[in-house]
Amino acid sequence: MSRWLLWLPLALFAIVAVFAARELRHPNDRTVYSAMNGEPVPNFALPPIVSGKPGLAIADLKTGQPRLLNVFASWCMPCIVEAPQLMKLKAQGIPIDAIAVRDTGPELAAFLARNGDPYARIGDDRDSRVQLALGSAGVPETFVIDGRGVVVKQHVGVISDDDVAALAKAWRDAR
């Protein structure tokens, strides 16, 4: 075994520790990512995934009325945390559509039964293709889209209680 290889475990551990420390020091670092801001949503059409609920296509986002688009999955723990906030947004009369990433119908149905169902439409993005086209790297993520299908705000990560007002405002401003 060569000498430097023996230090490899320590180096790997140090890297993990540095990242963990950074994350601890900025626990609430909620940067808003604007990669998609002002950009039109790319063309897509996704089939439905749960019975009784339509799928989602680009035309559904260009109805003249602004909407929220939530990228989520039933296997995503933060999405459970986020669910009550989405229900609050829905209660304010804001229409919400969703893209379900790498999910299955039964699991998604169980998730909605458990955590509430704020969605008007859910598209089945089985291999994350639309998610990636949207410039979204992970779940959950939420976009505010104006009536012409242009992204006006991208919210990365869980919608916390504090974020509800900001998202509702962005939706109202887009009208």
């Binding site: 023996l6 320590l10 993990v16 963990a20 020091r25 999955a73 995503c76 723990m77 790498r102 869980v158």
Partner: protein, 652 residues
Amino acid sequence: MIAETGLIALWLAATLALMQLALAALAVHRGDDTLAAAVRPVAIVQGALALLAMAALIRVFLTSDMSVALVVANSHSAKPWLYKFAGAWGNHEGSMLLWVTILGLAGAAVAALERRLAERTLTATLGAQAAIALGFYAFLLFASNPFARLFDPPADGQGLNPLLQDPGLAFHPPTLYAGYVGLSVAFSFAVGAMITRDVGPVFARAMRPWVLGAWIFLTLGITAGSYWAYYELGWGGWWFWDPVENASLMPWLAATALLHCVSVLATRDGLRAWTVMLAVVAFSMSMLGTFLVRSGILTSVHAFAVDPSRGTFILILLALYIGGALALFATRIGSVRAGTTFDPVSREGALVANNLLLSVILGVVLIGTFYPIVAASFGTQLSVGPPFFEKAAGPIALVLFAIMAAGPLLRWRRDDARALLKRMALPIAATALAAVSLIALAGPMTILALLGLALAAGLAVASVAPLFGRNLLRTPLFVYGMVVAHLGIAVSLAGMTASNAFTRETLVAATIGEPARVGPWRVVLRGIRPVIGDNWTALEGRLEVQRGEAPALLLKPQSRFFANPPTTTNESAILTAPDGQLYTVLGQSDARGRWQLRLWWKPWVTLIWFGGALIAFGGLLSIAGHALRDRRQKRRAIEAERAAAYREAWGA
């Protein structure tokens, strides 16, 4: 005064830990035997004091002493006594005190019982153990004092998280912690042996019972935790790849690898560096688990106190211990002589392969668990879920099972591949037979499910194969241990794959008297009625369930309401049949008076936990087997000595 007694005991224990560390360091540095002799009693008293502190905390919880802040935040006088008792560790401060108590007791046990290890290595080991304890005492005393008083005590407390009000969960943390702490002892042994450059078979034999013990507790803890999540969370799943679950799985994977390595080192004097490395990694994983759970750095369905300052404290401890041990490894392991060598096709070879595969799975789980943290540093918040873990770890696990089947049928040091194939004929035939009959009889399923079930059959046969052609009465107990543990893996694998592949789920809005179907079961909602418990009220559904022509049975799932704190939980009702479980959950009612029912039929799901219990039982047989053999060898040595003395005295 009880709370103050506990606090004083904690301070004294911390002082003794400092003394233990200083004494051990001096003794090892100077090679002073008188100093070394003082380390053992200090370690024993330190353990006793930690136990006293824990006892004091349990006492304030049992008496619902509302002048203690921790009791107010986590207990309520109306709670059943079992949950007052368990409430002592059902919170952050209490669970950390439990951690350090088990740590102190383990150190005391090493000091009192260990006779095999060279005195100098033992002293270094106890020093390392004291260093670990010291960090956790500091954490308790400076960042999470469990005995803090309230100057204006309220009339009553806020209660325990209702999800934690379950007998299973009352004993889940102590089991898991015993496992984590057992690994801390293995870690201290490794550090001690690295300091005195004493890595060899004697060290491995001394370490083995601790690794085995820790591994048994971890196995039990994970199995029980999985069953708890299954029936208490009401989701009908048995594993969620949640960060908190992964936190217990990662040390188990490392401990499993370590366990097999330690055996090679103990019996064949091979794999020295690997064993030391795995001992360090295994404990690192339990510390990392503690960090994940206690810092709130990741989002988990298991709700725990979130506190970045405590997280920072644990991270610093982590850096000191793991960083220190890895640095020691890098500087010292070069001077540890390589052990004996072996052919690739040999029992050792299979064990190395098993170790590598376990390490890869560990890496997959580690990356999946920590990736969100690294991603967060780059400003992305995301979650890694079952699709990643199952796709990445599943295929590797199947290869691991195949090697696991072959390993025990291989000879030490060198074997012939063709002879192995002959010995593997029966397991391979069983795999093929299972695959063919599954395709013919069970209907369509995924490739992974088919492979899993067929491999489970082959693995089961291969597990008992080492007993073929042996005198069963003269077979050592630890061989039975291995057989039972491997069989347990096969049983669990069968349960996991079967329940995943064949589960049927029905979600209905039921009116009274209307039948629903799930799998072979017919379910009728007969009525809903209110029920009152110790500190909750509930709506209870009365479900008549029937399978074929068999008499109908009654299941009573509940939706429970707790007042302190106000929470609703779903108490699933589960019917266990010989070939699976019917799992029922009562949901909300709608405006038209229909009740939401979630029904699952999960064929063979119970095999998962039965297998887990078998695995742990195998570990127990193994410990007993090694202990018996050690005792027999010692007795034989004494007899031989006596005979020699006799011959000498009588000139025979």
